[in-house]
């Protein structure tokens, strides 16, 4: 079982927080912080497994993470999951994000947290791995997007217009914040198609 999936950036800002076990929200935040500090201490060229933090249950649990450019993807799993399998799953998840967002970068995750959740829901459900085949995942996501588009055609149009107006000429828009693209392609690891 996967207990939690956390995505945060190099500064510990959460980008996606998904717990499959109930924690009160204060503890959730604490876990995110603790996990961040655990992961941050580690160099990039050491192993991607960490014996669990003190907050998510005991010795049976492991943190398995990957670091892509500005983002950490952390899965907290118990001993029923294969460590290398989960590493691959993270890869599948990130590659799926890359496909769905067309060259995903941190900004996509920041502004489209809901979409990231929907994608994750096609990969992991209730803490168990639902699908590992990327093509299948992408196909389902696209089908749902089409469905949403067909429904939202009318009501979404004005909203988009408004949003466009709002974006005009405002100096603060974060378009010029350069966070850099995620380096997605990590060699040697796609054992799962």
């Amino acid at each position: 079982m996967i207990q939690a999936i956390l995505v945060f950036n190099n500064h510990g800002k959460p980008r996606l927080v998904r717990f499959y076990q109930r924690f009160v929200k204060e503890i959730q935040q604490q876990i995110v912080r603790e996990t961040f500090h655990l992961v941050l201490k580690r160099d990039d060229n050491i192993c991607n497994f960490l014996e669990g933090g003190s907050l998510i249950g005991g010795s049976d649990y492991k943190l398995i993470y990957r670091h892509y450019a500005t983002l950490y993807f952390v899965f907290c799993v118990d001993s029923s999951e294969s460590e290398l399998g989960i590493l691959d799953l993270i890869q599948v998840f990130v590659e799926t994000l890359d496909k769905c967002f067309e060259n995903v970068c941190e900004l996509d995750l920041i502004f489209h947290m809901d979409k990231v959740h929907y994608i994750l829901q096609e990969v992991v459900m209730g803490g168990m791995v639902l699908e590992t085949n990327m093509n299948e995942i992408v196909a389902q996501i696209e089908a749902q997007n089409r469905l949403e588009k067909s429904e939202g055609g009318l009501s979404a149009a004005p909203a988009r217009a408004v949003s466009a107006v709002k974006n005009i000429n405002l100096p603060e828009i974060p378009r010029n914040i350069n966070i850099g693209d995620l380096n997605i392609k990590v060699p040697n690891l796609s054992q799962f198609v």
Binding site: I46, F49, S80, S82, M113, D114, Q121, M125, L130, E151
Partner: protein
């Protein structure tokens, strides 16, 4: 400017969406909290509007805020509103918000039941999918119960997308509503062979997750998984299955043997590291489960270790880590094969990665031997010095202690060395394991008598040195060591060199800064010390010296009397008074030493930590009974065995007596400064030079003092452990030389011409003699200690509820709750094949029977398929390994033996194989059936055929085991005998056919001739006919399919068809054979009479107590009863006899936890049940009076009943 105006007005007109919210938060970095609270206010406004789109938008924003840690539980109802939107776009937002924020405590969650049910049956697969996904995150026991049936239906949905989600969510449903597991399991099993790989993978996932918690219930699925393993190409599924096998093999060693080969193949063939790793892991599990007497598996171990070495040597740190992890599993059973890779593992200790270092440490634990312990610990000690960060250092510390103390200090040859290691460890600042070190010191000092003198000298030095006092504020800090030091110095004060000096050290004012429990030990041991000094002085005749010591005590003890800690205060007051009294006596020149030391006479023995727990409760003592009726508001206290140390002590003792005057304070401050200046360890409280990863402004300005730690910190006056290493080496070297000399001499004496083949004799562990004569005192245990160490399972474990036997057929009462008003809809869904959805039936027994019959039919038709499903058969077809498997403590040992005897039996029959073909088959089947029954614990009777077919009779399962056991009985009765042959037979109802019974005849050759050409001819009656090979006439004999050499016995089975079974039946028959010996051959005959009793038509059938009650109520049974007098046998054995001879069984309670039946028995009254081969129910009520037994029977046929009771009467009369 104008544009901004426009924008502002539009802002008011249109609401912010998620992107705007995120943007806004990013733009308000300085006053984020304020901005968000503004946004939440806006969201609250939006939620009040009627437009669902606005609401959905608001909920979407809330989900984001939830991630940032804001409470959104107040919006739960709005979330439900959005969930019930008709559009997928909104619905999805609602379910997402719910999955993130709902939990069992959310009260509105019960409102969702119908909405979710509606969505589950929605025509759009994505509506259903979204509902399933959401539900998986917030399913509650109520939702699980109400929706289980709907989800079951979805498991057979046409779209694989829905199927896989439905399968997966079932696990969550099982967890919350364990009753659903049995009804849903058949379908779940079906999904293992779903055509869609995604669904298949989901089913594997769920079953693996279930089996991980309660593996024994899933053993029967092993053949299916085995098939999947050999056929699947999906690595994900393979990994899961292989992991599952890893969990199953410990329960069934035969499975392991079957697995080894395919797994080894996979290891050789796969390119995926993840799969390879899991295969290695499972092979290790298999090897662990197999007993060690398997020489041919050393190759597998070698393969594993070799593959793991490749992993560890890999540059990929992940593989290195996993390699070490798996290596530690091998270590437990095959330490030798790992030890050869010591170099590699020691190398990993230097790795920059902490995870890897920790794993390597784990491995070291199992690799130490007497020879290398010192070397390894020395290496670890250097790591302790180098380690940055207290966690890793603490880990090292505990590992050092673990390694040294493992298996009763097995590897320590020099305890002086160990004590000095412990003393060296005390210089660790900031460790949390002071109590660990202290416990070790105490343990060693108490149990190794020879070391006490040395220990005492070391401990007194510790008491003397000041550095330990410095850390006294920290709980469990290193100052805990003083606890041990003080105790050891006090208890073994006779070994002290300078007791007076130590006494003064223990009475120093700074001692009062220590935690209370340590001070208490100080106070107590000061007196012990005082007593021994007193004795010394008096013996030496130094009356003045003795008085001076007393004066010292009187002067110093008051500082403890003032302590805030009650324990310290009380002890100190008592002792102060005692000392004052002694002072008075001394003033009168009365010798007191004898009396004072008498206070501490006698030696303390070590007591095992669990000793208290193991004291058996005396008979007749009920610990739960109230002594006095409780007061209404009395608080119950948790009585826990107290640890040696007050480690849980929360309260911080006040260190200074409040009355301490200014002057005293100033003096202490001065003293502390002085001490700090002299104390090399004190600097450590300044920030340690750790790497700073995150640049927080301001930190750089603080000058970081770099401490040169390369100079080892030495405790002044204490010896270093290193010197022991050298000493030990020298000592061993000397020993070796001596030994070599001796050996050489001997060798030279023996053979002069032969050269020694090895120039360097390797030193085995046994050769190293310990430096001291070590007498390790074992810990004491109470008399009659209970041997078993029941590890109490956590009663709150949610997975325990899922420990359910899945092989038992479904009872009628087990079905998933179905919403009544939706009955029509559910019946439309394709569920016919699942028994639990079947409509209520009035006759539960019939149903069960039907179900069984169906199975039977299947079995006959698809013998082959059945084979694959039958675990035992599947396992027993494995080619038996050359050495017989050692009987493992597995419930299936007798099955193994059965399988074995079967195999042997077949070998025996090798001669007459052709004819044999027919008869062994039913035999085998029967065996299997019996096995099944026995494993389920349903079998009442014991069976012991004379032909040594089975091991000595197993004890009767049900009832109290402490009662006397019946002598092993045989159900085989004598048929006929003469000087050549003895015939015994057993008649059993056939499980396959309605009116058939199987007669097993055992023929034993008693003569010295070979018996061959045996033929059995039986005269058929109208009612009973023998089943003969096709084409043979009624008058032909039926050949016995074997020959009998002298002294051999064998069994043949024949089937008879009986038309009416209500009456007993007798058949005449003749056995004809040729007896051949050296003198020639003679034709012989033996007549016999086969007696088919009514009991032999009964089949032991389990029955649930509720079904039994229904049966009795139904009223279509006739009744009869008997009474037998003069019975002295115990009721328990009586019942066993009835079960055994008449094929009855006790009632099953519904939901028996361990699948073990319980006879429903009230003191001297028992209900029993059996069923005839033609389906008559027979119910018995057996009552025992004094010296008599009465049996009331109810049966669907009155003749059958009365005949049965007559037979029973005959049996009972013999008792």
């Amino acid at each position: 400017m104008a544009l901004k105006m426009v924008k502002g007005s539009i802002d008011r007109m249109f609401d912010k969406n998620l992107q705007d919210l995120v943007r806004g938060i990013r733009n308000h970095k300085e006053d984020e909290a304020k901005y968000i609270s503004q946004c939440i206010d806006e969201i609250k406004q939006e939620l009040k509007q009627d437009n669902i789109a606005v609401k959905a938008n608001a909920v979407c924003k809330l989900t984001y805020l939830q991630m940032l840690g804001y409470d959104i539980s107040w919006a739960a109802f709005n979330i439900i509103e959005v969930m019930s939107a008709s559009k997928f776009t909104f619905k999805r937002i609602g379910y997402l918000a719910a999955s993130q924020s709902f939990h069992e405590g959310t009260d509105v969650i019960m409102l969702t039941t119908n909405q979710i049910r509606k969505d589950l049956s929605s025509p759009s697969q994505y509506d259903t999918g979204v509902a399933l996904t959401g539900l998986s995150c917030f399913v509650t026991p109520d939702l699980a119960r109400d929706l289980a049936n709907d989800i079951m239906t979805l498991m057979s949905h046409t779209k694989p997308y829905i199927r896989k989600k439905a399968v997966l969510i079932m696990y969550k449903v099982f967890l919350k509503y364990p009753e659903s597991l049995r009804p849903a399991f058949p379908r779940l099993k079906e999904k293992l062979e779903d055509p869609d790989p995604g669904v298949q993978s989901a089913a594997v996932n769920v079953i693996c997750e279930l089996a991980r918690r309660n593996p024994k219930n899933y053993l029967s699925l092993a053949p299916l998984f085995f098939k999947l393993m050999t056929s699947s190409t999906n690595n994900w599924v393979l990994i899961k299955i292989i992991k599952l096998f890893g969990a199953l093999t410990p329960l069934e060693p035969r499975l392991g043997k079957k697995l080894i080969e395919p797994l080894t193949n996979l290891i050789h063939s796969t390119s995926a590291m993840s799969l390879l790793y899991e295969c290695v892991n499972t092979v290790i599990a298999v090897l662990i489960s197999l007993s060690s007497g398997m020489p041919n598996h050393s190759a597998s171990i070698q393969l594993c270790v070799q593959k793991l070495r490749i992993l560890i040597e890999d540059s990929d740190q992940n593989l290195k880590y996993l390699g070490l992890l798996a290596m530690s599993k091998i270590l437990k059973t095959h330490p030798k094969s790992v030890q050869s890779h010591k170099d590699l593992i020691l190398q990993c200790l230097d790795d920059k990665d902490e995870s890897i270092r920790l794993r390597a440490l784990d491995l070291l634990y199992g690799m130490v031997s007497k020879k290398n312990l010192m070397e390894i610990v020395k290496k670890l000690m250097t790591h302790v010095d180098k380690a940055e960060g207290t966690t890793y250092r603490d880990e090292l510390l505990t590992k050092i202690i673990d390694i040294c103390s493992q298996s009763n200090y097995q590897y320590i040859t020099n305890f002086e060395w160990y004590i000095s290691i412990l003393v060296e460890l005390t210089r660790l600042e900031g460790t949390r394991h002071g109590h660990l070190i202290a416990a070790q010191m105490l343990d060693v000092a108490i149990r190794v008598k020879a070391i006490r003198k040395f220990a005492v000298s070391q401990m007194s030095a510790l008491l003397d040195s000041a550095h330990l006092l410095a850390s006294s504020t920290q709980r469990n800090g290193i100052c805990e060591v003083l606890y041990a030091a003080a105790w050891i110095c006090g208890e073994f004060s006779e070994h002290l060199q300078e007791p007076h000096h130590t006494l003064e050290a223990m009475l120093r004012p700074r001692v009062t800064t220590l935690p209370g429990h340590i001070q208490a030990v100080y106070v107590q041991n000061v007196v012990k010390l005082y007593a021994s000094i007193l004795q010394q002085k008096e013996q030496a005749g130094e009356a003045e010296g003795a008085q001076a010591v007393t004066q010292l005590m009187v002067d110093r003890l008051p500082q403890f009397v003032q302590s805030a800690d009650l324990e310290v205060q009380e002890r100190a007051s008592c002792i102060l008074q005692l000392v004052k009294h002694i002072q008075k006596l001394q003033a009168k020149d009365v010798p007191v030493a004898e009396e004072v030391s008498a206070l501490f006479a006698g030696e303390l023995n070590p007591v095992a930590p669990k000793a208290q727990k193991k004291v058996p409760v005396p008979e007749g003592l009920d610990l739960d009974a109230w002594i006095n009726e409780p007061l209404s508001d009395s608080e119950s206290e948790d009585e826990r065995p107290r640890a040696v140390f007050h480690e849980e002590e929360q309260r911080r003792p006040k260190h200074r007596p409040s009355e301490a005057d200014e002057e005293e304070l100033a003096r202490r401050r001065e003293a502390r400064k002085q001490e700090q200046a002299n104390n090399p360890f004190y600097i450590k409280s300044s920030p340690s030079p750790q790497k700073r990863y995150q640049d927080t402004p301001g930190v750089e300005h603080i000058p970081v003092v770099q401490i040169d730690l390369s100079v080892p910190l030495k405790v002044p006056g204490l010896p270093m452990s290193d010197q022991y290493v050298k000493l030990e080496e020298e000592r061993r070297h000397r020993q070796k030389l001596e030994k070599d000399k001796r050996r050489k001499k001997r060798k030279e004496k023996e053979k002069k011409g032969k050269r020694r083949h090895s120039s360097l004799p390797t030193e085995s562990d046994e050769d190293i003699a310990p430096a001291q004569q070590v007498d390790i005192v074992t810990e004491e245990m109470p008399e009659n200690a209970l041997p078993s160490d029941e590890d109490d399972k956590d009663p709150n474990d949610p997975y325990r509820a899922l420990d359910i036997d899945l092989d038992k057929p479904l009872a009628d009462s087990e079905k998933l709750p179905i919403q009544k008003h939706r009955n029509t809809e559910t019946s439309k869904s394709p569920e016919k094949d699942v028994p639990m959805v079947e409509k209520k039936s009035k006759k539960p027994k019939k149903k069960e029977k039907k179900h069984k019959e169906k199975e039977r039919d299947k079995e006959k038709k698809k013998e082959k398929e059945k084979k694959a499903e039958d675990l035992d058969f599947w396992l027993s077809t494995t080619p038996p390994p050359a050495p017989a498997p050692a009987p493992a403590p597995v419930p299936s040992t007798d099955e193994c033996e059965d399988a074995k005897t079967e195999a042997q039996g077949e070998e025996d029959d090798a001669e007459g194989q052709d004819q044999d073909k027919k008869s062994p088959k039913p035999k085998k089947k029967k065996h299997r059936k019996e096995k099944e029954e026995r494993t389920k614990g349903k079998k009442k009777s014991k069976k012991q055929p004379p032909g040594s077919e089975e091991a000595a009779g197993e004890p009767v399962q049900n009832g109290a085991p402490e009662e006397e056991q019946l002598p092993p009985e045989s159900s085989y009765s004598l048929l006929a005998e003469n000087s050549y042959v003895k015939m015994t037979c057993d008649i059993r109802g056939s499980l396959q056919e309605d009116s058939q019974v199987t007669v097993a005849i055992v023929l034993e050759n008693r003569s010295s001739s070979i018996l061959k050409g045996m033929e059995l001819s039986v005269l058929d009656s109208l009612n009973a006919r023998m089943a003969r090979p096709q084409g043979s006439s009624v008058h032909d004999g039926v050949p016995v399919p074997f020959q009998l050499p002298p002294g051999v016995s064998n069994e043949a089975q024949y089937v008879f068809t009986i038309q009416s079974i209500v009456m007993a039946q007798k058949l005449k028959g003749t056995l004809s054979f040729i007896a051949k010996n050296d003198e020639g051959a003679t034709h012989e005959k033996l007549d016999f009479r086969l007696h088919f009793s009514c009991s032999s038509y009964l089949i032991t059938t389990p029955c649930y107590s509720d079904a039994f009650a229904k049966l009795l109520e139904s009223g279509d049974l006739s009744m009869s009863s008997i009474k037998v007098d003069g019975i002295r046998m115990s009721f328990q054995n009586l019942l066993a006899k009835i079960c055994f001879h008449h094929h009855f069984s006790g009632l099953l309670k519904l939901w028996p936890r361990a699948a073990q039946e319980v006879v429903e028995r009230v003191d001297s009254c028992a209900s029993m049940y059996s069923r005839s081969i033609q389906g008559h129910h027979v119910c018995l009520l057996v009552k025992k009076g004094e010296n008599s037994v009465s049996v009331d029977g109810k049966c669907s046929d009155s003749t059958l009943l009365s005949n049965l009771l007559e037979e029973m009467k005959a049996t009972l009369a013999k008792c």
